[in-house]
Amino acid sequence: MKENIVIIGGGIAGMEAAKQLLVLGYNPIIIEQEDHLGGHVFQWHKLFPDMTSSHELLNDLSNQIKDANVFLETKVNSLNALGDSYNVILNNGVNIVAKAILIASGFHLFDAAKKEEYGYGVYDHVITNADLEAWFNKRADARIPEHPKAVGFVHCVGSRDLKAGNSQCSKVCCTTAIKQAIEVKEIFPDTEVYCFYMDLRLFGKKYEDFYINAQRDFGVHFIRGRVSEVGETIDNRLQVKAEDTLTGKPLKVTLDLLVLMSGMVCNPRTNELANMVGLDIDDDGFLKSRDNVYSIMESNRPGIFYAGACTGTKTVPETVAEARAAVLSIHRYLTKA
């Protein structure tokens, strides 16, 4: 009989881990609270830097994990140690005993309404990065004008922001903003696009090229300075005030759409799981790995492993690589035992 491995979270990390566990001959069981797999990537349109289709990626992954057991719209009610195993009780009454648990519960998008000065949920044409991705997919959102003359992107919304309670960089927002700015220019070539940033963190392969392309080929304007406030004009446009810290001057621009790059914050559901079984939580609210250099996938409890953004902000390639590494850690743990 194949060994059960419970994977909590059916996003890109959980799916990739299930795929690899199947290859190694295990019985992965995915517990996902939504009615579909894919996590945040399911909502996304294209992934940087190659403009990879999110849905093609997820379809491909889904096809490769058909033999995995998947519980959708399901939550973990309790997670307890049981000898050298764990007893996982689901809210549908199912009880699973497994020697290894992989937590891949991901992150939450920062609630942009908390940055009140930007007016998300108050002004008609202020949206988030997730809202824009949904529009790229469905092309239906009354907040997005048919022919915007000017569009702005605000980087670091809820990231690197002690007032918002989050000191961490969300890693993906800079490149996502560039990607979305390019996509907006592709759809609306005559639209002026402005990116308001603190500093650009473009550390990944081809990210810097992406940034240069945005300026050279698409004419996206990059302004180093944070937006201070947003207001609505008589004709229902947005007046945005910021400081251009390179020229040392305040600036004011009128836009038709403002996109807030909401950052990654810890998933509160993950903390509930952590409390069930005594997992350590880090200062930033994410799960605490045994260390942040060599054992990122390992928890403080034997048999419980981590993959993806449950331990901190991650890109998709990092998440996929971590899922594979976590599977190897699980395999080594079980074969040693």
Partner: protein, 356 residues
């Protein structure tokens, strides 16, 4: 504009405001700017609403203006404030309500500082004892006078003789609300509605039948900004800030502006004349300006007080167009008669902005 979004924020920033027994402290400058405002506060709260509002002549400046002009050490300001709290304690009160926004911000900042640094509070207690042998309790509740009028806005509306409605058209009057910078920008949780979308004046406008105007430069400083005005060389900067606000609100055609700060109504009122002199431009209809009122003056109008008893003749911008829209009866000949009906003299009227 998504009203529900604002309402969600307003519900997040509500503060507990006791219904009675307040120790009231006046502003240093309001009595010189629009003297009837503070008088109306005590008139409305004591006589109309029957509340216990106590004040003492021993109260002094809070030191806030000097503090924000960088001309006084913070520990001196704290000791002054400690003395005010001692007066409150000696009078047997625990709810403290200043009339000045800068004082309110000053008190909030000092109480918060003492909370974070209790050793500093201990030092200030020692300073106060050495200086005047006084001791104090910190206020149990701290509110600004506009918080109290907000708290009692529906009670005022219930006794209203007029509403913020255009008597000719039946439409709600469009009112700009301007919040003093020191009300909630430093401590959003201390203000009704928070810092970005304060509800304290908006709530009064809605309750009294008007419609709130939200315009792009709503949050911008009125132009007073102590170091802008008190440093004479900066005064053009002061008026340019005010100009920016008027240019921004102009397309919305507001019928009036109300404020909750000592300096804001003064500068928004007086600078309209200066802007008219400098540029030839006025922002009201037919060459008039936009009337600027304090919330106490507006409450007085709503309750049916005589406009001249409210001191509205001391405004630079004529208030008569607003009174006519609301349907307030007034005697133009009595505009410049004092309390004893003696002529208090007439100001020279400018040509650049129409006055009555």
């Amino acid at each position: 504009m998504i009203t529900e979004g604002k309402q969600k924020i307003w519900s997040d920033y509500q503060k507990e405001i006791p219904d009675d027994h307040w120790y009231y402290v006046r502003s240093c400058i309001r009595q010189n700017f629009f003297p009837a405002s503070e008088k109306m506060f005590t008139e409305i709260t004591r006589k109309v609403l029957g509340k216990d509002i106590y004040e003492t002549p021993h109260h002094t400046t809070c030191g806030g203006i000097a503090y924000h002009c960088d001309t006084i050490p913070q520990e001196t300001v704290m000791t002054i404030v400690a003395r005010q709290f001692a007066l409150m304690t000696e009078a047997g009160y625990e709810n403290y309500v200043p009339s000045c926004i800068t004082s309110f911000g000053n008190y909030c900042e000092i109480l918060e500082t003492w909370h974070e640094f209790p050793e500093l509070e201990a030092k200030i207690r020692e300073n106060l004892w050495k200086a005047c042998k006084r001791e104090f309790n910190k206020p149990k509740y701290l509110a600004h006078t506009s918080d109290l009028i907000y708290h009692w806005r529906n009670a005022i509306a219930a006794k209203a003789k007029h509403h913020l409605v255009n008597k000719e058209t039946g439409e709600p009057l469009k009112i700009v609300e301007h919040i003093g910078c020191h009300y909630a920008k430093m401590f959003p949780s201390k203000g009704v509605g928070g810092a970005e979308y304060p509800y304290v004046l908006a709530g009064m406008i809605e309750s009294w039948g008007g419609q709130v105007v939200d315009y792009p430069e709503r949050r911008h400083c009125c132009g007073y900004g102590f170091r802008q005005y008190h440093v004479k060389a900066n005064r053009s900067y002061s008026v340019s800030n005010t100009w920016k606000k008027f240019e921004s609100m102009e397309p919305f055609h507001p019928d009036a502006i109300i404020t909750n700060c000592p300096g804001c109504p003064y500068f928004l009122d007086r600078w309209q004349y200066v802007i008219a002199e400098q540029t030839g431009k006025t922002y009201g209809k037919d060459g008039y300006g936009i009337p600027v009122l304090t919330y106490e003056e507006l409450a007085g109008i709503i309750l049916g007080y005589d406009p001249w008893d409210l001191g509205l003749q001391l405004h630079q911008v004529a208030v008569e167009p607003l009174l006519d829209k609301i349907g307030v009866e007034y005697d133009p000949k009595a505009k410049y008669l004092g309390l004893n009906k003696e002529d208090i003299m007439r100001p020279e009227l400018p040509k650049s902005i129409k006055c009555c």
